[in-house]
Amino acid sequence: MGKSERKIRTWHIVLGIFALLVIGVAVAYRQLSQPLPESAIPADYKPDIENGRIIYTAGGCISCHRGIGPHVELPAGGRKLKIPGGEITVPNITPDEKTGIGKWRAVDFLTALRRGLGLDGTHYIPAFPYTSYAWMTTKDILDLYHYLKTLAPVRNETPLDTHRFDRFALAFWKWLALPKRPFRPVPGKSEEWNRGAYLVLGPGHCGECHTPRNSIFIPDRRRWLAGAPHLSEKGHVPSLRGLKRRGRYKDVNDLFQALKYGESLGYEDISSGGMGEVQRNISKLPDADIRAIATYLMSLE
């Protein structure tokens, strides 16, 4: 074999490997862009609108999706969030047929919250905290969907921003970042503790701010709620571990009051950096749920 022939052969191998890689990435991308099937909805599912409202409150959907002007009380979207390299528009999630989620099927909504995936296979940017919401039970997500359907539809055009490359790369990031299955109660712990753990991990998405992230921006489970740099402002988000040991709160009841009343009752470290809005949402939950959150947090060493 001549020298040039060998060179050509090497080139063919390199090209072959490259082509395989491209095909591999394309196949993987397709696979990662699949919506959930209709069968993901349990046959015996019955909507519970009141539960949906509670999940909506715990999830703080209104904090980001809040409308503008006359629609501030509805999740009509339209505000901008700052993200690195640009801005992102928060979409309208009222049940308007044209500009909201009026035409979405329940399974589309489930796909959005569980997989961070939109109608046409759009990968959502994690400013939408779906990596937490994905922990929610199918029933809670469906109840939330049915609750949103009861809201007044608002016509407000809020097309998703392009960010084409980010969305492509996110397909792979999500594969690492999304939980593999929804929350399951921890055996041996009380029902109240498990309810608290669920609200904190899933709908409450407390870990998005309170848990430090690793080098590829996935919350580090080993340092769960251990405090982290604030993502959009200078400063730190405090740790929620050892709240009792560090003398932050006397007992479960003390933290319950802090979560329920916040700074209106003199709890001073629960207002800034977005926490004031979170606390306002928590304060609207049933007392039993606020107490469950307090019970769970006070148990973290």
Binding site: W173, I216, E233, K234, G262, E263, S264, E268, D269, G276
Partner: protein, 157 residues
């Protein structure tokens, strides 16, 4: 690989809240100085006079109209003082003051005014049953309303 990781990180850094842009200039300074120090001290005095009233609300201390009046008066006076300690440009160095104070001054001043009014109203509370609502008005529409919008999270963990 490095680049991909960096890009991923970039995407991830998506602001999680309807948050504002990064605060500028924060580097270096470890100690508070100038107006930042003065308003910080005023705020700490406010807190020291607010906490005993909260204790009365929670039943951890007995109701005492004289203390309520005296403390509320100090709170009103110190907030009044603090309101004059936010000169233009004093968001540099070590401080928890957000730059929005200066881009949205009218709202900041309005909340300060409300807080001072609520503190003055608190001075006239003469019975235990009126204390809780008055304290919560000041705490909610004064302290919380302002810290939520205009104060950054703490520097240290």
């Amino acid at each position: 690989m490095r680049n991909i990781a960096r890009i991923m990180l970039g995407i991830g850094m998506a602001g999680l809240l309807a948050a504002t842009s990064l605060a500028s200039g924060h580097e270096g300074a470890k100690e508070m100085t100038g107006p930042a120090k003065a308003r910080h001290d005023a705020m700490e005095t406010v807190k020291d006079h607010f906490v005993p009233l909260v204790k009365m609300v929670k039943g951890a201390a007995p109701f005492d109209a004289a203390t309520v009046k005296k403390n509320a008066e100090v709170i009103a006076k110190k907030l009044e003082e603090a309101s004059k300690l936010f000169p233009e440009g004093s968001d540099k160095g070590k401080t928890r003051a957000k730059p929005e104070i200066w881009t949205n001054r009218a709202e900041f001043d309005a909340i300060m005014k409300t807080a001072i009014e609520k503190a003055k109203a608190l001075m006239n509370v003469d019975s235990p049953d009126k204390l809780a609502p008055a304290v919560m008005e000041l705490g909610g529409k004064g302290c919380k309303a302002c810290h939520e919008k205009f104060r950054k999270p703490k520097d240290e963990m």
